[in-house]
């Protein structure tokens, strides 16, 4: 690598489409979901900071990080959980570099395995949060989170794998995320596999990001916030950023991999960016409607739904993708 490439890679990871981009898009995503859920429930939603309250999530995070103090106590592993949250953000930022929207693209045959590995880090971070705060609520939340993730994460990985397999079959770079997003082979089998994988990936990503009806690990009325019950100040700010960066990341991946990204235009075109943004907002709208209209389900119901209808669907997609 030349020094220019190194600089480009670092800037891509730190600014666009890495950390800075993910944080900004994540907080705007939070605003959109909060505003829409508010309107759907006959509330106003965020209103005061910025036009239509669009800067409210930024104000919340800035207040948490720079103004609020972090209450600490004996037996709590503050820096340990911060390391994992930072690694989670780093992994999501690095994973964005596998996509065509990045100026510096990391691409190789079979890189989908690395991509899935990077996607796992934010999950590990949230599990570690609960386990490093010695409180029954956080441990119970963490336990539920791990139970839910036990079924959601394999479904995410399998559905992504199935789609990438079917799109990069008999190309020169098999199982490459970049190739599947730019030069994928589309046919009737691919359409079936992508549809099954889309349903599976979408529901699993809602479960992974703890959005209703899969928010039992952080059930506020029952577990006082579960995983995040003991967090305050900068740690809570960091957790909020990580959570919404993850929501934005998974929605971006849904848009790019399963909905064709800027199709019928291509990456780099202005109309393509517009189509991409509309698809992204459509996915977010669906998430907000689901969040506003359903109640919380119990942990065994959540595990049962995930294994019976979501994971099995992704396995079917993987089998079709492998044999046809």
């Amino acid at each position: 690598m030349t020094s220019f490439n190194v600089l480009l890679a670092v800037l891509s990871a730190l600014i666009y489409p890495g950390l800075f981009f993910l944080v900004v898009v994540g907080l705007l995503t939070q605003w959109y979901i909060r505003k829409l859920v508010g309107r759907l429930q006959n509330r106003i939603g965020p209103k005061y900071v910025g036009p239509l309250g669009i800067l409210q999530p930024f104000a919340d995070v800035v207040k948490l990080i720079f103004v609020k103090e972090e209450v600490s106590f004996r037996g709590r592993l503050d820096k340990f959980l911060a390391i994992f949250m930072a690694l989670g953000l780093g992994a999501l930022s690095a994973a964005m570099l596998f996509t065509p929207i990045s100026p510096y693209v990391v691409r190789s045959p079979y890189d989908v395995v690395v991509f899935i590995y990077l996607m796992l880090w934010s999950t590990i971070a949230f599990a570690v949060i609960g386990l490093s705060l010695s409180n029954p609520f956080t441990v119970a939340g963490s336990s539920r989170f791990l139970t839910q993730i036990l079924f959601a994460e394999p479904a995410l990985a399998t559905s992504l794998l199935a789609t990438v397999i079917v799109l990069t079959k008999s190309t020169s770079t098999p199982l490459s995320i970049y190739s599947s997003l730019t030069g994928g082979r589309f046919n009737i089998v691919a359409a079936v596999v992508i549809t099954l994988s889309l349903i599976s990936f979408f529901i699993a990503s809602i479960a992974k990001t703890l959005i209703k009806p899969f928010d039992i690990p952080e059930a506020e009325t029952e577990l006082a916030g579960g995983l995040l019950a003991e967090l305050s100040g900068p740690a809570l700010g960091l957790a909020t950023i990580l959570h919404y960066a993850e929501v934005a990341f998974l929605t971006l991946i849904t848009t790019m991999v399963f909905l064709g990204g800027p199709y019928p235009f291509s990456y780099g075109e202005l109309l393509g960016a517009l189509v991409f943004a509309l698809k992204y907002l459509a996915v977010l709208t669906l998430i907000a409607v689901i969040k506003a209209s359903v109640g919380r389900i119990r942990i065994e119901q959540s595990a049962s739904i995930l294994i019976k209808y979501v994971f099995s669907l992704s396995v079917v997609a993987l089998l079709i993708a492998s044999f046809f």
Binding site: A9, V10, A13, L14, G18, L19, F66, V67, E69, E70, V71, S72, F73, R74, G75, R76, K79, A82, I83, M85, A86, L87, L89, G90, A91, S93, A94, A95, L97, F98, V106, R107, S108, P109, D111, V113, V114, L118, W121, S134, N135, P136, V139, A140, S142, S143, R144, L146, T147, Q148, L150, F151, G233, P234, A235, I299, E300, A303, S304, I307
Partner: protein, 114 residues
């Protein structure tokens, strides 16, 4: 690039982002953390030996999946397969062995193609 280089670059970039994020957290936090550490708050009760009293055993982490979803599976394994009758046990082992043979056939035949 090859798969190894891609893995190394992605992991390195992950740390490139994580390191300044963590440093920023430590710098901001140092100026705002409240004094010395205190005891955890548990419903207003003072807890002396809190490490033992409030931590949950690691075997309980997957209670949701084991008690809710795998209960039927375990009960089938325990009650109808491992009933103490030799024929049941042979049937159980036979299923696993035939599954193993089937899997190895699939792997070998697919290996010829790949």
């Amino acid at each position: 690039m090859d798969a190894l280089t891609a893995t190394l670059i992605a992991s390195a970039l992950m740390f490139v982002v994580a390191f300044p994020t963590y440093i920023l957290y430590v710098l901001v936090r140092r100026s705002s953390t409240s004094g010395s550490s205190s005891d955890p708050y548990l419903c207003g009760e003072g807890v002396e030996d809190f490490k033992n009293s409030i931590s949950v055993g690691s075997s309980n982490f997957f209670w949701g999946s084991t008690s809710a979803n795998l209960k039927k599976f375990y009960s089938v394994l325990r009650d109808s397969i491992h009933s103490g009758v030799l024929n049941d046990w042979l049937f159980y082992m036979g299923i696993w062995l035939s599954l193993g043979v089937l899997l190895s056939f699939i792997v070998i035949s697919a290996g010829g193609r790949l």
